[in-house]
C-alpha cells in the first residue's frame, strides 16, 4: 500500500509537470514569434532552445506516465483515454517546436506591416491552447467543470480562424511589396500558427467526451 501511495503521488506530480510543460511551451511560443517579428534572432534562438527542452521533457513524461499507468494498473477504465489526451496535448508542443524550427530554417520574410496581425494571431491561437490546460487539469480534480472551461478553447479557436482568414486576405489582396512566392510562404507560416488552436480544439473534443463519461 505504501508503494502504491508513493506511485500515486509520483504520477500526479508527473501529470502536473506535463501540463506545466505544455503551458510553458505556449508562453515561449508567443515570445519566440514576437522575437522573430522584431528580428531579435538571439532571443528567438534562446526560445527555440527552451521549446526544444520542454518538448523533450514532455515526451519523456508522457512515456513515463503511460508506463506507470500500465505497470501499476492505474485508472484501468480511463487509461486509454488519458493516454490519448496526453498524446493530443503533446501534439501541441510538437507543433510549436515544428513551427519554430521551420521559421528558423526557412527564415520567411515578414513585412513589418503584418506584425500586428501575426502577433494577434499568435496570441489568440496560443490562448486556445492555454485555456485547454486548466480544463485538462480539471478533468482529474473537478470533472464537472471541464465543459464550461472548454468553451473558451472553442471561442479562441474560432477567433484564430477569423484572424487567420483576415491576415491571409491582407497578405494576398492588400500587401503589394512582396512577390507571390513570399505570399505563399507567409500563408504557410499562418497555417502553422493556426495549427496550434486546431490542435487545441481536437484535444478539447476528446476531453469533452471524457468528461461526460467520467461524470456519468
Amino acid at each position: 500500500m505504501a508503494l502504491f501511495t508513493r506511485t500515486t503521488k509520483n504520477l500526479i506530480l508527473k501529470i502536473d509537470e506535463f501540463f506545466d510543460n505544455i503551458e510553458l511551451g505556449l508562453l515561449v511560443f508567443r515570445e519566440a514569434i514576437k522575437a522573430y517579428l522584431e528580428k531579435d534572432m538571439a532571443a528567438f534562438a534562446r526560445h527555440l532552445q527552451k521549446v526544444d527542452a520542454l518538448e523533450g521533457n514532455a515526451d519523456n513524461l508522457q512515456m513515463s506516465i503511460e508506463n506507470e499507468m500500465i505497470t501499476h494498473s492505474i485508472l484501468p477504465q480511463h487509461r486509454e483515454e488519458v493516454s490519448k489526451l496526453l498524446e493530443e496535448l503533446d501534439e501541441i508542443i510538437d507543433s510549436i517546436k515544428r513551427s519554430l524550427y521551420e521559421l528558423n530554417i526557412e527564415l520567411p520574410y515578414i513585412p513589418s506591416s503584418l506584425n500586428k496581425d501575426l502577433i494577434s494571431l499568435t496570441e489568440t491561437s496560443a490562448n486556445a491552447g492555454e485555456e485547454l490546460i486548466p480544463a485538462a487539469r480539471a478533468y482529474f480534480k473537478a470533472p464537472y467543470t471541464v465543459r464550461e472551461k472548454l468553451l473558451k478553447v472553442y471561442y479562441f479557436e474560432k477567433e484564430t480562424d477569423k484572424i487567420g482568414h483576415d491576415t491571409k486576405k491582407r497578405v494576398f489582396q492588400e500587401i503589394k511589396d512582396i512577390d507571390l512566392a513570399q505570399k505563399a510562404h507567409l500563408r504557410y507560416i499562418i497555417h502553422h500558427i493556426e495549427n496550434i488552436s486546431d490542435q487545441a480544439q481536437k484535444a478539447a473534443d476528446l476531453l469533452a467526451g471524457m468528461a461526460i463519461k467520467i461524470v456519468m
Binding site: 500515486t8 504520477l11 500526479i12 508506463n67 505497470t71 477504465q77 482529474f140 480534480k141
Partner: protein, 411 residues
Amino acid sequence: MILFFLTSGLFLGWSLGANDAANVFGSAVGSKMVTFRKAAIIASAAVIIGAVIQGAGGSDTLGKLGSVNAIGGSFTLSLAAALSVYMMTRFSLPVSTTQAIVGAIIGWNLFTGNRTDPATLSKIVITWISGPALGALFAILLFILLIAFKKRSGMHLIRFESVIRSGLIIVGAFGAYSLGANNIANVMGVFVPVFKLQDIDLGIISLSSDQQLFLFGGIAIALGILTYSKKVMETVGTNIFELSSESAMVVVLAQALVMFIFSSSGLSSLFVKIGLPPIPMVPVSSTQIIVGCVLGIGLYKGARNINFKLLGEIALGWLATPVIAGLFAYFSLFFMKNIFSVNVGYSIAEGTVIQEPSSITTATDLSAIMRYLLLGIIIAGFLTIAFFYFLERKKKRELRLSEEKFWKNLK
C-alpha cells in the same frame, strides 16, 4: 462413509465459491482494479472466517423449514440442489443456490411426509424480494454519499481511484465474509441436524460441531474460488455489469451489508432490544441482491440502461429454481430409498420431541481429521502468503531494474 456423505455438500460449496465469489470481486477483477490472485486469496480467507464465526443463523432457519433427520437425506438434498444449480447454469439460466436448497428441503418434507412450516417458508420467500429491494436502496444511498464525497473532497482522480481500489479490497473482504456467513447455511445447513462432532479446543479458539462443519463448507467454497472463479469473475466484470469503479464498490458494499444483516444475530438482538421486529436469519441469494443493487444504481441514474430481458430471466429463475430443485430432490430421495436402500429420513409427528437421528456421529476419528486439517490450513495459509509475498517482491524488483535500465539508455 460419513465423509462420503459430506461430499455432496462440499460439491455444492465448491460450485457456490466458483459462481458467487464473482458477485463480490467480479467487478474489481474484471475492471483490472484488483488482480485475481489477490482477490481469490482475500475472498477465500474471508469466506472461511465468515462461515465459522457467523454461519449459525441461516442454518437454524433452514433447520426450521425442514429438520433433515438422516444423513442419507442430507446427502441427497445437497446433491439434488447442486445438480439443479449445475443444470440451470449449463442452460445459462440465472440460478440461486439458496433457492435450490430451499426447494430441495421442501421436496424432502413432501417425500418424508413432514409438514413445511408456512411461517418459516414465508419468512424465507419474503427475503427473496426484500433482499434485492434492500440492496437497491442501500446502493442508491451509498452511491449518493460517495458522489457527494467525491465532489466535495476535490480529490485528484488518481488519488480517488487509489482510495476506491483500497475500498474495493476492504469491501470485497467484507462481502466475502458476509457471503460465507450467510450462504454457508446452503452448503452445510442440511447436515447440521445429523452431524455431532467433538468440540476442538485450539487454545485460542474452540470450534463447536457446527463450526467444524462450516469450516469444511468454507474450505469447499474457498476451493471453488481458487480453482474455478477466475473466468466467472472476468466475465462478470466485463460483460454483465459495466460499472464504473466507484459504482462497483457501492454495489459490493450494499450487497455485503444486506447479506450481513440477514446473518447477524447480534444485529437482530439489537433490533429486538430497541423494540423493532427481529431480522430474519435467512440465507439470501448474492446474485439476486447484486442485481437489485445494480438496478438501484440504474434507476438513480435515469433508468435508461436497464436490461429488462435480464430482469425477466431472473424472475423466471426465481420461480423455476425451487421448483426444479424440489422435484429433483423428491425423485432422488425416491431412488435413494427404494433402489439403494439408504435411510433418507422419516416423518416426525407434530408435537413430538425430536430425537437424535440414528446417523448422528460422535466419531473421534473425524474430529482428529478436523484437527489435522485445521493445522494444515494454518500452515498452508502461511506458506501461501509467504510464497506470494516473495514472488511479488521479486517481480517488483525486476520491474524496477528494467525501468532504470530503460531510462538510463534513453538518456
